[in-house]
């Protein structure tokens, strides 16, 4: 018998709507969308270009304010928080991976990760270095910690970006097209790392992607088209306990 408390969503979007532009140019991108995401589960949000996937991800992650609706995350109504509170929420609970790696060209792989914990958590230089090295080792980049982005392959750069997102052990990990700039072998490695973040660390992972090959690597698939959710495929039941907020 499954404990109902294990089925509580860690992140919940309720009746979300968002438009861009005004007057005749106004375009509704999200039409009354509701979605639930669970701790320890990796969810793939799929759909054609312009379907509103990235916009929905931005709203759920606290980056873009919806026109209407609520986002509940770990018991917080995300969009009723002040900008500063929402920034602190993201700092404590959210990791992001984007299509473009967006790494600082001048900094080494280690420094890219150190910066997040030193600036975000005020960690000491020694502690930041230790955590960065541990994460890079987990990502298979231990021997490349001293290299800069121009010296890394696309897959390695994306792994550094993942490390930057996960080093602070976030409750939520949002990935927008994380494999689109990579070959499939590198892309598989990236998806496996995100799976590990969900299954091994209990994070709530939401991946936005076009690539159908990712489907068999995720726990749940949500289809989106024209700003509406159409199909939700539950590939694996939710059995992971909800990770308590830090």
């Amino acid at each position: 018998m499954i404990d109902d408390s294990l089925l509580m969503p860690a992140l919940q979007g309720v009746h979300l709507s968002r438009s861009f532009g005004q007057g005749e140019m106004k375009t509704t991108v999200i039409h009354d969308v509701s979605i639930e995401l669970f701790s320890g589960q990796i969810t793939l949000l799929m759909g054609p270009s312009g379907s509103g996937k990235s916009t929905l991800l931005a709203i759920l992650s606290g980056l873009l304010r919806p026109d209407s609706g609520r986002v509940m995350a770990l018991g917080h109504d995300l969009w009723s928080l002040s900008d500063l509170e929402r920034e602190r929420f993201r700092l404590r609970h959210c990791g992001f991976i984007f299509q473009g790696y967006n790494l600082f060209n001048a900094l080494t792989a280690r420094q890219q990760l150190e910066m997040v914990v030193r600036w975000g958590e005020g960690a000491s230089a020694r502690d930041a270095r230790r955590r960065a090295d541990e994460m890079l080792a987990l990502l298979g980049l231990a021997k490349k910690s001293h290299l800069r982005p121009t010296e890394l392959s696309g897959g390695e750069k994306q792994r550094v970006a993942i490390g930057r997102a996960l080093i602070k052990e976030p409750n939520f990990c949002f990935a927008d097209e994380p494999t689109s700039a990579l070959d499939w072998k590198a892309g598989q490695q990236v998806i496996e790392l995100l799976r590990s973040a969900a299954h091994d660390r209990g994070a709530t992972v939401l991946v936005v992607a076009h690539d159908a090959r990712i489907i068999e690597h995720v726990d749940r698939v949500v289809h989106m088209e024209d700003g509406r959710l159409w199909i939700q495929e539950e590939r694996k039941p939710v059995l992971q306990p909800v990770k308590q907020a830090r």
Partner: protein
């Protein structure tokens, strides 16, 4: 933050070179402009700075050493009775016209002083032999750089105020601003300076047993006598330089040029930092998405502007010394670069770089993490 800023500045140095050079240019311009000003106007106080008097007494409210008016020689006694004063003597200085041997005239500055070994008013560049030569009536010494201007060679004669003079020697390192210095004895000067009639002198000089008593002596003299003014050596030197600075408005002209240089430096540095920040917009947006506070990112930009300032100043300082040496060597123009001037130029330039960094922060307002998802 400093290590990340420096790493970025070094790795992307080509991007930041314009900013660094702009700061260096500003610092160099300020230092050289002010140094030129100092060097130029320090010439006006040569008769004060290169003599040995602690106290100068002259006409009431005399503005500059070259604008002295006749005062009674009896003023000597007023200074001599001061208990702190060891010795005193008269000193003459004034403008006169030098009639060139081949025609034409030139304004010159006649300086007549005692020429004994312990003389207070003797220019320190004169050797004992030269002082001996000046004992001859009409003997004068000029700076070799002025020989062409006065159209005279060593041993030749000319006229000052209708009185013949003979150039018995030349010296070096006595540049002048208004008119060439013509060094001579008191009797020679008295006959060539038209305003010196009767028992008058231009200044009375005094030396204290303890130089630190000079301010006290000056204060007492100024309090006791209203028809003359007394100054310490340093005060009179500064007063002379300041008078020339304000009278000629050269300070304003050079200050304007320095301010323009500062403005150019500020704009280029600001644009360099602005462009660099915009170029890293997406990276900063990721940090913002991760919840890194905006002030941290702002701190990195300001830190970069600080290091650009430091590196620019470090480049400017040796360039300033090198330029000053070259100008002095090639053109004989002295550019004075005391430590306080260089520190001030560095401080002003560093402040300018930091302000540029603050202006560059405006670009951070454009950073919105959601833009990464469009």
């Amino acid at each position: 933050m400093a290590s990340y800023s420096l790493a970025t500045l070094w790795y992307e140095r080509q991007r930041y070179v314009p900013g660094v050079l702009a700061v260096a240019f500003s610092a160099l311009l300020i230092a050289l402009q002010c140094g030129l000003l100092l060097g130029l106007f320090s010439i006006t106080s040569i008769p004060i700075d290169h003599t040995q008097a602690d106290v100068w007494m002259g006409a009431s409210e005399v503005l500059s050493v070259d604008l002295g008016r006749p005062i009674p020689e009896s003023t000597l006694a007023r200074l001599g009775v001061q208990p702190e004063v060891k010795c005193c003597e008269i000193y003459m200085q004034g403008f006169a016209f030098w009639s060139k041997p081949k025609g034409g005239s030139e304004l010159c500055m006649v300086i007549g002083s005692c020429l004994s070994r312990d003389s207070l008013g003797k220019i320190d560049k004169l050797t004992p032999e030269q002082c001996g030569m000046l004992a001859e009536e009409g003997a004068v010494i000029i700076d070799e750089s002025d020989a062409k201007r006065l159209d005279v060679k060593l041993g030749e004669t000319a006229y000052i105020s209708g009185q013949q003079v003979r150039v018995v020697s030349m010296t070096r390192g006595l540049p002048s601003l208004a008119g060439p210095y013509v060094l001579c004895s008191i009797p020679t000067a008295r006959k060539r300076l038209p305003m010196q009639k009767g028992q008058t002198t231009t200044y009375v000089l005094g030396r204290c047993r303890d130089p630190q008593d000079a301010p006290k002596v000056v204060e007492r003299l100024n309090h006791s006598y209203k028809d003359v003014s007394a100054f310490t050596q340093s005060v009179f030197s500064r007063r002379t330089q300041l008078h020339w600075l304000l009278k000629t408005k050269a300070g304003i002209a050079l200050g304007y040029a320095a301010a323009l240089g500062l403005l150019v430096g500020a704009v280029v540095t600001w644009q360099t930092l602005y462009a660099a920040t915009v170029a890293s917009m997406r990276e900063y947006a990721v940090l913002r998405a991760l919840g890194i506070p905006r002030w941290r990112i702002a701190g990195m930009v300001v830190s970069q502007s600080f290091w650009i300032g430091i590196i620019g100043i470090a480049l400017a300082l040796p360039a300033a010394y090198g330029s000053a040496w070259a100008v002095d060597r090639m053109m004989g123009i002295h550019i004075s670069l005391p430590w306080w001037l260089l520190n001030s130029a560095a401080a002003v330039t560093l402040g300018m770089a930091l302000v540029s960094g603050l202006f560059a922060l405006y670009s951070l307002r454009q950073i919105e993490p959601a833009m990464l998802l469009r």
